[in-house]
Amino acid sequence: MAKMKKSSTRIDMTAMCDVSFLLLTFFVLTSTAKTPEVYPVDLPASTKETKIPSDDILSITVGQENVFIGLAGREDRIDVLNRMGQEYNIEFTKEEQNTFAGMENFGVDIREMKSLLAKPSSERMKKELHKGIPYKDSLNNQLSSWVQKARESSWQRKESFLKVAIKGDANEQYGTIKEIMDILQKQRQNRFYLVTGLRSDDF
């Protein structure tokens, strides 16, 4: 009886495994971890595909008439915080500065910043603590101060112009957005990036 040839059905996967792990490593390293946001918003969709620059950018999140700020870069954040501290006569310790450097975005009154920074990291991003940055009162327009300090910081340290991105909630009233734009325009910050989501092509 002729012996049936037992051909192996298995494929050598070593090479495939190598390649896939190489790719995996690449993607893991290149992707930036998505940091938790204090106030996640639904972005309106558009067909424009201009990418937002990642350096020297201040993002203003607007949702339900509250405003939250996000700054890019650890060094920038510390510098801007110190400038704000000078303006409002608050001194921040080294630890507080480091804690602040780890916060991607926030929405608190500068006078409550110290107590926020003293909180443990698990509680710091809780929504209840971030009530929004005051901007409606013209005597206590902290949004305006933050933008101004951030602009000063990026110009004096790096000689680059700060870019401002506005992340508005899709259901936000236009009036609120306009108010924010007016605050920015008072400082002659006339150029914004309006952050939008992607819309399908057949719109």
């Binding site: 495994c17 896939s20 309106p44 201009t50 899709a170 936000e172 325009q185 006339n190 150029r191």
Partner: protein, 181 residues
């Protein structure tokens, strides 16, 4: 499918002590599966996480406009889009009081069949008269306070889609507010 038992377990009561042929290859199927799953995940998240944006430059408000630079835009070239509450949308050409060709603010829906057709139509008319690009249509976008941000983005998006070169966001006048009531 993947086998768990590799390596011979067959000779239980083995009489002959054979030198066991150890299978040197490890089954990599599961590992490759996992690796590809993770690759897919990271590929999708990296490309999606960077949000899109729209560039918007507003005219400087503090600077006094130079009277010599103010241009008179023709009524036939100026289109005003009014955005109101509950996705209400109107447009008119020329001035509100004396609109171009006597057609006052007209309702139109959003999107492909609505405002886009209107804009493209006007652009085509102007092109036929030799006005194109920067010399072409001027669109003024005015929104009421209770319009939503989405409405504004939608209209700005239409500008990008139709390729209108000159457009501006402006404050609504009282008369226009009355029209949008």
């Amino acid at each position: 499918m993947a086998e768990l038992n590799t390596g011979g377990n067959e000779g239980k009561g083995g009489k002959k002590v054979r030198s066991k042929k150890q299978n040197a290859g490890v089954d990599l199927t599961a590992m490759v599966d996992l690796a590809f799953l993770l690759i897919t995940f990271f590929m999708l998240t990296t490309s999606l996480s960077k949000p899109q944006s729209m560039d918007l430059t507003m005219p400087d408000k503090l600077e006094e406009p130079d009277p010599t630079k103010i241009q008179d835009a023709k009524a036939s070239k100026t289109m005003t889009i009014l955005i109101g509450k509950d996705r209400k949308l109107k447009y008119y050409m020329g001035l509100l009081k004396e609109p171009y060709q006597g057609v006052g603010p007209t309702d139109t829906p959003y999107g492909k069949e609505g405002i886009r057709q209107v804009i493209l139509q006007k652009m085509a008319n102007l092109r036929a008269a030799g006005h194109e690009g920067k010399d072409g249509i001027v669109v003024l976008i005015k929104a009421t306070e209770d319009a939503t941000y989405t409405d504004m983005i939608d209209i700005l998006d239409e500008m990008a889609i139709t390729g209108v070169e000159i457009y501006a966001l402006q404050d609504m006048t009282e008369d226009e507010k009355a029209v949008m009531q």
